[in-house]
Symmetry: C2
Subunit: 150 residues, 2 copies
């Protein structure tokens, strides 16, 4: 595998590779996958929002990871933002090589640069390996993550 991975904000040309990463996942497949047109409008909305950052990890010309960061302003914790991390994926054939760890370090660096008081994410209770991974980074599973499909 390529050893050098660089992280940067996604651009529109990354979208097919990002969608392939999002689809390459058992939980997502069970939800119906990502067949159909590319969500170019949604990409544009994320891209234009100063409190949302879609991140890609790039090795050579290959997109090897992605995540989405949302900075939520709030009244608690001295008025600091909190960072929510969603849609974390690493290419399935490159897992276990430290890419996710480096991507999370990049994400947490973004949070610190903005002065966030807290980083948070939810992870499906079936993803037990992911829980151990996040706990190894210092995350604490202190909360129930509750979802309601609308």
């Amino acid at each position: 595998m390529p050893t050098e991975v660089a992280f940067r904000p996604a651009v529109i040309d990354d979208l097919p590779a990002i969608m392939a990463l999002l689809a390459d996942d058992d939980v997502a497949r069970a939800r119906g996958g990502y067949a159909g047109d590319l969500p170019t409008e949604a990409f544009a909305e994320i891209d234009a929002d100063p409190r949302n950052e879609l991140v890609v990890g790039v090795a050579g010309r290959l997109i090897v990871g992605t995540c989405q960061l949302t900075f939520i302003p709030g009244l608690s914790r001295g008025g600091a933002e909190r960072m929510t991390i969603e849609a974390v994926r690493v290419r399935s054939d490159l897992r276990g090589a430290g890419i996710g760890r480096r991507m999370m370090a990049y994400a947490l660096g973004r949070a610190r640069a903005r002065g966030c008081a807290l980083a948070q994410l939810t992870t499906d209770k079936r993803r037990t390996e992911a829980h151990r991974f996040y706990e190894s980074l210092g995350f604490v599973a202190s909360h129930e993550g509750m979802k309601l499909n609308l």
Copy 2:
């Protein structure tokens, strides 16, 4: 208790009452409470952000509940937004009277009006009554809610 509760976006004059609600909570107190200046800058940032809505429930002239809604654009689920609910509070002396249920109905109505595919929240594992409340609304505790203080 007043029977009529109306829900609306918060205005700056509501801020002292909102901060009092946020402080009136065992978990928040353990985190250090809310002594000090009002977070007027954070209020202004939330107020100016089209993807954040600070909600208050008002009975007569009394603020009886609050929550913050964040609409997160994303690439999954057909490019639909998801709504995250944070900082849910009901006045402690008015709990059990259905205010929280009506506030959540208002919040979920906002999500549906924006076409959100999903509503989500995290709730401290110590708040067992809150879990039952959210489950009664159809939320499923399918995820671990992981937090990292920065």
